[in-house]
Amino acid sequence: MYPALIVADADPEADKALLARLGDWARRYTPLAAIDPPDGLILDIAGSAHLFGGEQTLLDDAVARLAALGFTARAAIAGTPEAAAALARARPGTIVPAGGEEQALRPLPLRALRIDPQALAGLERLGLKRVEDVLLRPRAPFAARFGEDLIERLDAALGRVRSTIGARIEAPSYVVERRFFEPILNPEDVTRTLHRLASELCAMLLKYGEGALALEMSLFRVDGAVRRIALRAARPTRDPERIALLFREKLAGERDELDIGYGFDVVRLVAARVERLDETMTRLDGPAAGEDLARLVDALGARLGPERVRVPAARDAHQPEAASLLVAPGARPDPGWLAPPPGAPADRPIRLLERPEPIEAIASVPDGPPLRFRWRRVLHETMAYEGPERIAASWWEGEGHTRDYFRTEDRAGRRFWLFRQGLFGREVAVPRWYVHGLFG
């Protein structure tokens, strides 16, 4: 064997990850880029080829950059993704003029269409090796003999049907970007660029009467790395100051440096989700209170994480843990909070422990209150109590044991919500006691 041959184990996972990263890199040419596993990338350059001085220049640039990254790339440009993929593998460097797919595909071997190998073997046995061999013959027998796949791929390549690869690329609604001849190197330049892009994006949004709900900023480094920062807003926004602020807060919250390396040469801002936003009259005394609150919620969510800002919503459930739910602000349904009738005891605690904590309690059987209990190594003697409030376990969840809740107050005036789990004699031999919450 060849002693100079370097052998390494195949690692398909790593290959997939690498391809995904290259897909990210490829988005510097167009936001519409998809990976074509196991070893390809598909870019829709219809809207961006002119930015590079034409298709040929773009193709050369891409191949050159990939070579600089250490990859040998074969590329082709055509009117359909399948045709381009086939040509890239069989005739790299081809640029097909509009409508010339059939012409370009004819001499290609059928293998280039990436048909199922069994069908391929079958076709070869019949002496059909090139695409033109199949094109010239009636289609129905092929479909019957080799399945739909062959015909579908051919049709997709020729542009007769909408291709499947193209359907996977979703065009974002609004895109603004800046390309730098000289890569930008300091954070201040990044911030300035962000402000400019935000202003442009908001101008576009204003023109169409929409506001952004989800934004993404992509920073492409010269060495191929891509940094993405995503944001969400509670209400649609088209205020450039606010957008810039939210991105700054997000970066500050992540606590990591914007790793500029050798510089960014492409910065892109995309509004991934938008919603109608009509012109609102600003009041004379400043923005409306609801607007202020939405800003606060957005800023807190950007810095701390959106899941850390929540509002309570009532739920009709007899299990105490389930009686209240935390939802995102804005998603709050009609408030269903009932104030107790005057004079009725406040029988729910103001704090609920995330998990009931076991305590040692002394109580008379079968269902007396806890006379004394020890929690976190402190002994409490019950001086006043109310209960039991019996809450049965939800039979559909299968938990099983009934809980008898007591509201107790100890000698010092500390008030607890305790429960005994399991009915003595009927459900368990020895019931267990827990503290579940605290009162004021």
Binding site: W337, L338, G437
Partner: protein, 298 residues
């Protein structure tokens, strides 16, 4: 030289305060000192006039000592005296928030920020119970912060928001994250935005906290037995409230009960001496004896 300056007219032709130059003092230094004296006089006069809005708490003695009620647009500190008094501290913060909440406004009113550590140790605010104490949970926004710094940052942001009435921040240990500068920043943010800040430490060390701060008031809260109901059950929550600092005002110590039905504080007589009267008999297993329970408290 000093005489020359004294005869010049002041700005806009106003009166010039007589300049008593100190020996050896240059004219500019004398002017600076005069300006500083004017500022000090205005500052003190401002406090005497008391331009800060107040939310009455409902109990006369308390409101009088607070010169009208709990001050709005400033920072208050609430500390649990001991670790076991955390429920009392939360209860007091909740009751104060209920009083500070302006009910004519809809939408958000109270932002409750909780540091992760406090959450793990003392549990999470429970909206059904909060509703029963008189604070409408539909006006509540709950924020979780990873650490004290994040919690204080969030508090500052929220205080600046003009749409809010109260911002509560629970931090398990104030020492280390919170200092004089932080308290000044929060106070400034509260003044700008109009919201009232309640900074809560429910962990240990409340009683011994030697932190100097620019907060408007500092409260030490301790649990106190309630006045039991007819069947011997616990009644309205009661707390011992010790006001250990009030800017421009007196300290004080009261025993207060929170009537959550009418949403007001009700004063109770302080027991003689610091020790709590814990002479009530423990309830019998079947039923607590109402007559003996009712004799104490009140």
């Amino acid at each position: 030289m000093t005489r020359d300056i004294a005869t010049k007219a002041g700005p806009a032709g106003g009166r010039v305060l007589p300049l008593a130059g100190r020996p050896g003092e240059t004219a500019s230094l004398a002017r600076a000192r005069q300006a500083l004296d004017k500022v000090r006089a205005a500052h003190d006069a401002g406090f005497a006039r008391d331009e800060i809005a107040r939310a009455p708490l409902g109990a006369e003695a308390l409101d009088a000592a607070l010169r009208g009620g709990l001050a709005r647009g400033v920072l208050h500190e609430i500390l649990a005296e001991e670790a076991g008094d955390l429920g009392a501290a939360y209860g007091f913060a909740l009751a104060a928030s209920a009083r500070l909440l302006r009910r004519e406004r809809r939408g958000g009113g109270v932002v409750w920020i909780q540091e992760d550590r406090a959450r793990g140790e003392d549990g999470i605010p429970y909206p059904p119970g909060i509703a029963m104490q008189g604070l409408d949970p539909s006006r509540l926004i709950l924020v979780r912060a990873r650490d004290p710094q994040a919690a204080l940052w969030a508090m500052e942001q929220a205080l600046r928001c003009r749409a809010l009435d109260v911002v509560v921040a629970e931090i398990s240990r104030l020492a280390g994250a919170y200092d004089l500068t932080a308290s000044r920043r929060l106070g400034l943010a509260a003044r700008e935005g109009g919201a009232t800040g309640l900074l809560l430490q429910a962990g240990i060390g409340g009683r011994d906290l030697k932190l100097s701060s620019a907060a408007f008031t500092r409260w030490l809260v301790r649990a106190h037995p309630s006045r039991p109901g007819l069947a011997g059950e616990p009644g309205y929550p009661a707390w011992s409230l010790r006001l250990v600092r009030q800017r421009g005002g007196r300290e004080g110590h009261w025993l207060m009960e929170w009537n959550h039905d009418e949403r007001i504080f009700v004063e109770r007589a302080l027991p003689g001496g610091e020790a709590l009267s814990g002479d009530r008999p423990a309830p019998r297993p079947e039923r607590a004896h109402p007559a003996r329970m009712a004799a104490f408290g009140a």
